[in-house]
Symmetry: C2
Subunit: 226 residues, 2 copies
């Protein structure tokens, strides 16, 4: 039952952020009892695909807000400030074997390659290398760097209709190459945390490959395990 509903959501029948029909209506449409339909909705909500709000309705979860790269780091002020973004380089290129593998596309497919620095309180804190599959992000390839937003995921949604719904982060440690270190105002060889992210849309397509570098000493992350 949940699978049928999931398919309708992933097919884009109700765009992210909009409400589904009422439980009544959906139950009739699928020819099942309301309780059965409710279980399906609850399951999909627990998986993060939907969001249920008492008294208002059931909604397709809107795109991730995008800022939370900072959840891995602690830079002085925990003010929740949105980091300023400066685009260092932007160019179209062909996907290398590694990038193609991460994005799940063929090698040589066109991608948009970005390098950006994110700053807090005027100090550069994170260096990000981003690869986007070009067919989806044509609109951004034509936008002057000055007009880009600080938060990318809402921008992807607005300008390209790409809704990031889920992401995986792989964390490792290393040291900064000289060129990377220069962007962050750190000495070459400084220890760094490296977060490799793949972001996926509603349909499960990988829509962004991003590698973030930050000072290892500012890294901090908490997990609960059971």
């Amino acid at each position: 039952m949940a699978a049928a509903l999931r398919a309708r959501v992933q097919a884009g029948e109700w765009p992210p952020g909009t409400a589904l029909p009422s439980e009544q209506a959906l139950a009739v449409q699928h020819g099942v009892a309301m309780a059965t339909l409710r279980r399906a909705l609850e399951l999909l909500a627990s998986q993060g695909l939907l969001e249920r709000i008492h008294g208002r309705g059931t909604f397709v979860r809107a795109a991730m807000t995008g800022a939370p790269m900072l959840r891995f780091f602690r830079f002085g002020d925990g003010s929740g400030e949105v980091p300023a973004s400066r685009i260092v380089s932007r160019r179209k290129t062909a996907a290398s074997a590694e990038v193609a593998q991460r994005l799940g596309i063929a090698r040589g497919e066109p991608v948009l390659h970005l390098l950006r620095v994110r700053s807090l309180g005027g100090r550069p804190r994170l260096l990000e290398e981003i690869h986007l599959p070009l067919p989806l992000f044509q609109a951004l390839a034509e936008t002057p760097a000055a007009e880009w937003d600080d938060l990318f995921y809402p921008m992807y949604a607005q300008r390209c209709g790409v809704h990031v719904q889920r992401a995986t982060d792989e964390i490792g440690f290393g040291t900064l190459a000289a060129a990377q270190a220069a962007h962050l105002g750190l000495p070459a060889g400084h220890p760094c945390a490296r977060v490799e992210r793949r972001a996926y849309d509603l349909a499960g397509r990988c829509v962004e490959a991003r590698t973030t570098f930050g000072d290892a000493h500012a890294f901090h992350y908490a997990v609960t395990i059971t």
Copy 2:
């Protein structure tokens, strides 16, 4: 409803690993409909307190197996090998302010302090500093170091009746002091990952504070976010 059941489980009415009465019986005991009781069981199962096995019954989740400190690291062979354990030091002491805070006890309370090295393929890989509140672990304080098991959590359950049910890990990054580095066969000042764990029993008491150090370059961790 779930709260009442949770209380019975946490009170230890059914020891970890044992089966609860059938849904039928529990529904009668609590004076609710079976469907209601089922929802409660499902909720507690999703929270990791219970485990439901089709055709067999509903069980209080047994203690964590204990080894998974290695899930944060990648040392050559991903063979799933259980690391050998060598206890470097063991002594009773009074809880410092910091240890007391982590364990949720008063400063100066007696604790068992352990230092151990864990090795894979004969090579020292992890250094662990462990603090245990003494009243609970008296049995271990009297056990010769040679008789300790490689996996602590099953040993806590067997010898002390302490079942670790949940833990939080905080990950940070630093460099090894000379004494620490010596245990791991690394140079002083070598970059390391530091995992600060608090382990809790069924009732939510903190029963172990553990800090693990390992080579930063072997650190690797993956998360999915939604």
